[in-house]
Amino acid sequence: MGRKILFITTDQMRYDAIGANGGRVARTPNIDSFAADGISYDRAQPQNVVCMPSRSTMVTGQNVGTHGVWMNGVPLPVDSPSVAAVLRDAGYRTALIGKSHFEPLLDPFLRFEENQQGFIGATEGHRGFDHMELATHGAAGFTHYSRWIRQNHPEAIGMFFQVLDGDLEVSDVPGGDSGAPQIKHNAVPRDWYHTDWVADRTISWLDGLNSDDDWFCWMSFPDPHHPWDPPESELHRVDWRELDLPVGYPQNQAEREAIIDAKPRHWRLWYDGKLVSNYEAPGKWVPATLTADQILEVNAMAHIENELIDEAIGRVLAAIEAKGWSDDLDIVFTTDHGEFQGDFGFLFKGPYHVDSLMRIPLIWRPAPSAGGGADATARVSKPVGLLDLAPTFCAIAGVQPPEWMEGRPLPIDDADATARGFERVTTEWDSRQPDGTEIHLRTIMRDNFVCTTYQPGTVHDGTEGELYDLVLDPLQQINLWDDPERRSLRDELLIDLAANFVEPIEFRHAEAPV
């Protein structure tokens, strides 16, 4: 009997969302508890800051340029390599419960396997998962969760925020107390909400296993991704009027706009509502109109959703304990990318490679039976990426990571990271919108600097970039790209980036906007 692997992901969660990483609002005792017994990575980055490319990296262990899912809407081919298949071949029972998003969600012709399975309620899975029960936020799409809602609680369908408007654009309809976009007071009972459903289905799948089975379960929560519409019964948890504004939000308008103006031009264009560079941010919403109250209310909603996630995790861990598996259990917790949540005066995400979106929580609590516990406690400051997860799962299972995986098993501490050369992590962005807008970013993080170069597109001419000193400027408010004194550093980082970045072989067609 070997180690069991519980892989927990959230969607669009900031590094500072949890107590273990210094979060002071959302109470996350369950996450904090296994973090205290495990390894926390303080510089973990996704290889792309939107869902489909990032999740494709998680399941393949490959860079975006290799798996080819270069923007949302580009499906991961069904025959792409999968860590779940590797583990299944090694004798593991495998499941993915919650949000997958390897294939487009907007699929009225039901072309994609995961939507087909969700539509008919089949759970046999694919991509190496022998069980899949899928969900996304609310009752939208053809997921197992939306089918469950339609069949059991049809009155709840209209309770969630309606994500798309009549123009099939992501809606900017205001809500809540502050009129913030994508907020709604949701009448859905808590036990019908997708967070608890994911935990319920996970527990159900675990209950069906034999006690001596080895298993890999990816439990994937759709929250705290917008829209922010947690059950209104839970709004009492965090009063937005009592929160402090994020430190990343310069409250003085002139100061805020000066910071944005020192960044590449698409920052200001989006701020003024003149550019839509990511479908998932409401196209009609103008960030310059964002108020301090709206930022506070969005943050409160995210904190509430994170508390619900933590409690759901607690229920699953209790079920695992009851099955007698805790001593053999490895827990890996992370998210696919971050969220502005008010930083610089923005919400949502897009081609903006700052810590709001790029620095994510990542925790690995090795199985106590494998020498975990106090001996494994560490904080790793060296850079790691989500492409390191798949080989880590292989290592846990005692399987040699296949050659097609491009990451490496996560280091257990900084000494291990140094010895194995964890020096840098790269993140990329490529997008082509229906109106022809093209944006391409290539980013390297190393030696406490973040350096982003912009390839020529329809907005940038190839000369723009960003360079931040994370020690002196942790909020990334001072762009050093054009600082003559940093020119040689910038050049060194760009050379290192070019040497270590995997460029896409081809840009396959997007089959949906998301």
Partner: protein, 135 residues
């Protein structure tokens, strides 16, 4: 308004290809996700695998020019749509199959581009094993 276009060279005569393209009910044989097609007068109704109907107006069915045009009228969230299929004898071997779409709102272009390209590929393969599928 977004414009998308797919095409394929089919190594069959234009007359052969038009037998399928020019019969609006035969879309079920090649278009992904369509399980049923009924035509009444100038109206075509498709039933999708997901159980959703798609209502369309047949704008042009020109057997001489081998052109078929239609509009989606509901219930998909479409503000404007015109789909055009042309089967063209262009002097090269076989014929050219062209599928053009004008559509608003723009996000639907992503969805239709993918499904139409798959459909054109299906149709070309159905007619001939040797096609040059492009978009």
């Amino acid at each position: 308004m977004a414009t998308i276009r797919s095409h394929a060279r089919v190594h069959r005569t234009a007359e052969d290809v038009w037998k399928i393209v020019g019969d609006p009910t035969r879309i079920v044989e090649w278009f992904p996700g369509v399980t049923e097609a009924t035509v009444e007068g100038n109206n075509r109704t498709l039933m999708l695998k997901a159980g959703l109907p798609v209502h369309e107006e047949i704008v042009t069915l020109d057997h001489r020019m081998r052109r078929f045009q239609y509009r989606i009228t509901g219930p998909l969230p479409i503000k404007y749509h015109l789909g055009t299929m042309d089967v063209i004898e262009d002097g090269e071997p076989g014929c050219l199959l062209m599928y053009s779409t004008e559509i608003s709102p723009d996000p639907m272009a992503f969805v239709l581009d993918g499904v139409i390209s798959e459909g054109i590929g299906n149709l070309a393969r159905m007619l001939n094993d040797h096609t040059e599928e492009q978009r």
